[in-house]
């Protein structure tokens, strides 16, 4: 396509313009070798039986068929991962939004508050903090000690299938600070004039929130929503460190299943098929969100450069 274009009309690019390719060369190489190639290869592997060191053996759809019809562990992981995502993403975003709106006033020390609330986000994916979480939620750990001190029954957070996943989710939601900071910045950018006009028209606080505040920051909400869903669907570290997928695989997220199949059992073809299922889910969710975004997301500029 490129050569056809320049053959038909004068290209209009100066010599200087072509220097751009020197600057973006690292990315072009990185993209081709470390992103595009692995992306296509994992699709290829998913149609093979492949162990490291051996030659891939073509098996067609066998991996996928086994995955969807025989592997109950897979369906469990899929369910666990989706539930995890449904708890953490809205949980985190709602907390971030509510607190951001609450703080979006003339509050003394707002910078300090913002800084302090952000601190948990520093530990995203940190093994050290996951270990702390494990210790805190042990049968005789800190959280249960507090419950006992308040004469409440203790809960087996890590041992009870009803609570283990929620405990893992709590670690993620605890880290809402980074989203909150983004929302706060976005809220600050909402033009005062809009609020003033609404107040003059007699709109109540709640109405203003839903008809002015929220719509103005939908682009940030959208960005956060997509990035966090993508991240949540691939979760690994917290489940692996805190509960190792247990109890009874109730926290055995797809990230762990993929790791176990690929790097414990070295069934790389099979693991690749799992990774493509994850990718497909992410793709579908992203497409749906992008499609719907034209209905509810508002952009200040169209960003064309």
């Amino acid at each position: 396509m490129r050569s056809a274009k320049s053959a038909v009309k004068k290209s209009g690019y100066t010599k200087r313009d072509y220097q751009a390719f020197i600057y973006i060369a690292p990315w072009l190489i990185g993209f081709a070798i470390l992103q595009l190639y692995p992306f296509l290869m994992s699709l290829f592997y998913s149609f093979n039986e492949y162990t490291i060191g051996a030659v891939p053996e073509w098996v067609g759809l066998k991996n996928y068929i086994k995955l969807f019809t025989q592997d109950t562990e897979f369906w469990n992981s899929l369910k666990v991962t989706i539930v995890y995502t449904l708890y953490t993403v809205p949980g985190k975003l709602i907390m971030a939004l509510v607190v951001a709106v609450f703080l979006n006033r003339d509050i003394k020390g707002i910078n300090l508050i913002r800084t302090l609330y952000y601190i948990p986000s520093l530990f995203g994916g940190s093994v050290a903090i996951a270990i702390l979480w494990k210790l805190m939620f042990l049968e005789n750990g800190l959280v249960n000690s507090f419950l006992q001190a308040m004469s409440l029954p203790t809960i087996s957070f890590l041992g009870d299938t009803k609570y283990a996943l929620k405990t893992i989710c709590s670690l993620e939601i605890w880290q809402f600070g980074s989203s909150m900071v983004m929302f706060l910045a976005a809220l600050k950018q909402v033009p005062r004039s809009l609020y003033e006009a609404a107040e003059i028209d007699g709109a109540g606080k709640i109405r203003i929130f839903f008809t002015i505040t929220i719509p103005q920051i939908t682009s940030i909400i959208f960005f956060n929503l997509i990035m966090q869903i993508i991240q949540a669907l691939q979760n690994f570290t917290s489940a692996f460190v805190i509960t190792d997928g247990g109890p009874m695989k109730s926290t055995y997220v797809l990230g762990m299943k993929l790791y176990k199949e690929g790097f414990s059992y070295f069934k790389m073809g099979y693991a690749s098929s799992i990774s493509w299922v994850v990718f497909t889910i992410i793709l579908v969710v992203s497409l749906v969100l992008f499609r719907s975004s034209s209905a509810w997301v508002y952009y200040e500029d169209q960003g064309d450069f």
């Binding site: 609330y117 948990p120 903090i129 249960n144």
Partner: protein, 282 residues
């Protein structure tokens, strides 16, 4: 009079809520610190915050690590893994961002679209072929995968962030430099980069943090304990003995998060401002 009292009460409640949320958010970290001085008995079934004594024995015992390697090795490994990765990331992201932000070239829209698309490329779908590729190159069990990915601008987040920042610099700067006979590289290094310092710093600080906290990639690419970064060593310490010595584990965990906390307070501005602006522009 009554109205004034009401607003005072409202403000008090507001600040009370703020403090309560703050306590819930930060209490785990404080508790973690004090737990580094406690024996297992003190930790179990107790809500007491302060330890009986401030003995450094758990730090000393924990630092010894498990068997052949001490945490000196693990911290060193992390340093060797993270610092070059950060520097390479910022350098290559700046170069690539310059190319996108300041030039018009064929297929720019397409390539930029690809860049944005890779923002959403899940690591999970490329990790296995990356492993087999690195295995072929002989890079497994080294930090070269991290260096290579950094040098080749594989994390589009930073490139994108810097492109946005470049867009804020007036094009007249480039043009007047061009008129003065500056080549593109000189323009980049002598004129634009100095103005980009805050953004470069932000990018560096984030990449440092993310690489420092990394577990999944480290777990897959690094096999021998000798090369373990802190994240892998900490996970290993949980399995070290049949009864976990939580004081030791917490001590090493706390030392692991300490650099992050210190970096954060030293470079607060770059964290919070970096986050606030990167998500906003388009």
């Amino acid at each position: 009079m009554k109205k004034m009292k009401n607003t005072k009460l409202k403000k008090f409640i507001d600040y009370l809520v703020i403090v309560i949320i703050g306590v819930i958010l930060l209490y785990p970290i404080f508790w973690m610190f004090f737990a580094t001085f406690k024996s297992n008995e003190e930790i179990y079934s107790s809500i007491k915050l302060f330890p009986k004594s401030f003995d450094l024995k758990y730090y000393i015992a924990g630092w010894k690590g498990t068997g052949k390697f001490t945490y000196t090795q693990f911290f060193l490994n992390t340093f060797i893994m993270v610092v070059p990765t950060t520097i390479l990331t910022v350098a290559s992201a700046a170069l690539v961002a310059y190319g996108f932000a300041r030039f018009h070239f064929p297929c720019k829209k397409l390539l930029f679209g690809l860049l944005i698309a890779t923002l959403m490329l899940p690591n999970a779908v490329i990790i296995i072929p990356r492993y087999t590729l690195y295995n072929k190159f002989g890079w497994v069990n080294s930090y070269v995968p991290f260096y290579a990915q950094a040098a080749l601008a594989c994390n589009p987040f930073f490139t994108y962030m810097l492109i946005q920042f470049f867009r804020g610099l007036p094009k007249e700067l480039d043009e007047s430099a061009h008129v003065d006979g500056c080549g593109t590289f000189r323009t980049f290094v002598q004129i634009l980069l100095p103005l980009m310092k805050p953004a470069l710093f932000s990018a560096g600080v984030f990449q440092f943090l993310w690489t420092y906290n990394d577990y999944f990639n480290s777990l897959i690419f690094i096999n021998s304990v000798k090369k373990y970064p802190i994240s892998l060593a900490l996970r290993m310490s949980l399995d070290a003995e049949s009864v976990v010595q939580w004081g030791q584990v917490m001590a090493m965990s706390f030392l692991a998060v300490l650099p992050v906390i210190l970096l954060f307070f030293a470079a607060q501005k770059y964290f919070v401002e970096g986050i606030a602006t990167s998500g906003l522009k388009g």
